[in-house]
Amino acid sequence: MIARIRDTIRVLLGRSRFERDMDEEMKAHIAMVADDLAARGLPRAEAERRARAGFGAVQAFKEEARSARGVHWLDLIQADLRHTIRALRRTPSYTAVALLTLALGIGGTTVMFSLIDGLLFRPLPFREPDRLVNLFIAARESAGAPVEPFAWSYPKYAAMRELATSFDGMAGYSTGNANLGGDEPERLSVEFVSGDYFWVLGVGAVAGRALTRADDSIPKGHPVAVLAHGLWRRRFGSDPAVVGRSVRIGATSFTVIGVAPAGFAGLSGGVDVFLPMMMAPVLEYDEILTEGQNHWFGVVARLNRGIGLDRARSEMATIGRQVDERFPRDARSAAWSATAEPLADIRVDPGVSRASWILFGATGTVLLIGAINLANLLLIRSAGRRRELAVRSAVGASQGALVRHLLTEGLVLSVIGGALGVAVAWLAGPLIAQLGPSGGDGPGGTNYLFDATGTTIDGRVLLFALGTSLVTGLGTGLWPAWRAARQTGTGFLHDVRVTGARAGRFGAAQVLVMAEAALAVALVTGALLLVRSLEKLTAIDAGFQGDHVVTFRVSPGTTGVAGEDPARFRTLALEQIRGIPGVEAAGTSLCLPLQGRCSSSVVLSVDDRRFSDAESRGIGVHAVAPGYFAALRIPIIAGRGFDERDRVGAPKGVIINETAAKRLWPGVNPVGRTIRVATFYFSRADTAVAVIGVVGDVRYGIASKPADLDVYVPALQAPVAPATFVIRVTGDPLAVVEAARRAIRVVDPGLPIFSVRTMDEVSRSATARHRFATTLLGLFSGTALMLAAIGVYGVLAYSVTARAREIGIRMALGAEPSRVLGLVLRQGMLPIALGLVVGLVGAAVASRILGSLLYGVGATDPVSFLAGAGALVMAGLLASYLPARRATRVSPTQVLREE
């Protein structure tokens, strides 16, 4: 084996010398023969001719000699490569078009592959990730409702952990937020985790140590913290000496015991610091670990070796029912159980993965069009080079050599194109990651793990790019090679000119153009469907006006003015903010429109009618401070909005939205009626409060879904600390941010503001996924259209060159330039028209997969289809016109003289 490798290397090194020597030796031989013949009296030229004839087919002997020498395929490849590169350099524009085509196709496919690989295929970065599962409570919200995954309460988790036997270990985790103290207060994303968390996942520490079970045994007893890598770098300059130091989180001093590795931001994603779950009562509230029915954290567990998922599920089902027995619930409509799901199943939002697959398909189509273009170019080139090939064939190059040569050309182009494609992917990857939607809420108190910013070009992606390039190269090279092989029969030398009839008929090249046109129009139509959906989504009136509005959040702990007296904090802060020049109105809420509801409060009854569980869960409850409706210009339809009268001690009143008014009191003025709302921060289940006003509907969930029932309670009477400020200004909304930050500091010096966004940004983020899919599909379909146009152009331009004689004769016989123009245009547009029909039919079938990405347009929206067809026709006409115009400039005299 080693000897063979050595031999191969030796041959590789000696190869070019061998070729040179062989060439020189054969020339010397012929020269010597000619010398002898000349010495016998033949004229020199005749002597040389005879000497060459006597020698025989040089190419054939050379090839035989190469194979006689052994390891010949390497020599052949090198010779082919050299020949190909020479040929490509001779035709730079052809080469550039081919490479650009491939770079775009392979680059796009590679980017989308890296995204999908990160989303779905790459193993999770944990020890033996196949053994990791998420445990859920499996519950129905009411009788007859579907079983849904729920998070755990601490007592239920503890009971379940006692009983379970299928697992090596398990750990709870939940997100929270806390303020990091210091000169620059900062809002931190906290993950409360059980002591076994790091051990269960198999994640270590890069400095210090990870949390252990001993760090999480006594409630409020372990003020220790593990920093995430990002915070460590950002805030502590990656200083290993941070271990052992103390940091102030909320009102408590925590000792840093370690730093988590880069790339691990917790199962919640985006975590800054890991704290023991036993410290949750300190940062959240006292009872959090003892409430049986407060389901607030997810559980990850590691299956025992040899225990299958089914076994674990059946055990969890049994244990889940036993645990449910122990914890009384209000409404026992059906027994709650528990279940296990592989951790990998919650890595990505199904909607995101669907969109990514669609986009991957789109890039694949672009690549296919690119490959067709390339095949076409090779085909044309090989036809144009038939004389050369015929000559090569006649001087002894075997048929195999010709096929090999064309294949080499396809491969060389696609490998170089692939390398360029990787560069494209490398440049475009971060842009796409920016556009891409990240994590987000998953099922049952978990988060989707995927974060698009994690996409990278690594070995797997490079391998994919290489594989794609090779397949493309073989695919594009094989067909022209096969055709060339078929055509190098005898008699070929006699008829190497492409005749007009032959170039003009509907041949292989036209079929390829038709396929390109079909694929391109299908993609463009799909993209247009998305564009129209996005347009409609953006045009939705969500019930508020977001222009000139800036928002930010504060989330006080239990200390400071904001923590101790939230109502007073709001009043003072809003007073300060309203004093800033340019501020028109300011208020607060808990959550913003279009961000999903954030209230889990329950409305129990209106007047004397009691609600069922299901009815009341559908109602959103929002604590808002005076000025909120004005800041977002939400109209007050009846009664009044909140004002300074709605403060602590005053009679409580609520405001409802229009839909609630219509549904709860059909045909009746609801102002003055009563409602009972169970929110721990506002009122108790037994207290009826009056409806004091009705406001317009606002879409709090997704933009495409009409408003549900909403109840607004006055924030000044609801002592809940976190708040989102909403400020309307006359000018640039971001210009007041600094003044607002100072205003908050005046009231509560230690309180950071975070999530500063204009309301327009908030609205845009609500359509982020649509925007992502639309932008990329638009980009890809534009590329596809361009490539198809290049394809048409290439085929026609060649055809015009090949038919120059015919065109010249026609013009000599009196054909008008306009007729010639029409002739060529028809030839170009025929495959386009056929492709258009095929493509639109295909699009009508395929557009259904866009599914939920469509809004307000049908999958066969005629406007999109017409516009798509129009775009293709325009591109086709443009691509046909240029060669057609050139055809009209053919000079009949010159063509005929060449005859």
Binding site: D21, M22, M26, G54, S67, A68
Partner: protein
């Protein structure tokens, strides 16, 4: 009409090349001339076909080569036998003589030979 030159038996070209080169280092054209001369113009070898055979022999280590200058002052590659080439030539010659004897004996057989 002259009889056409006899077809070379498969493999005999290698032997002829080895023999021609064994007398003195020689370039490709020289090898052809020598074979033609020794065979009294009976054997005509297609000129180009010499080279694949020569390269094969060189690759097998039976010939070695170096560049030199020919009689009429042209740069040419000269071949000579290696030790292995010499051994191979000896084996081939013995094999060939046995073969020719055997074939000759067969072809010289007369009815009288049937008796024994």
């Amino acid at each position: 009409m002259a009889t056409p030159p006899p077809e070379l038996l498969q493999g005999t070209l290698d032997m002829l090349i080895l023999k021609a080169v064994s007398l003195a280092p020689m370039h490709g054209y020289g090898i052809l001339l020598r074979i033609q001369q020794f065979s009294r113009d009976t054997l005509a070898i297609q000129q180009g076909s010499l080279y694949p055979a020569v390269y094969r022999l060189e690759h097998q280590g039976l010939l070695s080569s170096e560049w030199g200058v020919s009689d009429n002052n042209r740069r040419a590659k000269f071949y000579q036998l290696t030790a292995a080439g010499r051994r191979r030539l000896k084996d081939e010659r013995e094999g060939w003589i046995r073969l020719v004897d055997a074939i000759g004996a067969v072809m010289a057989a007369t009815p009288a030979d049937l008796q024994s």
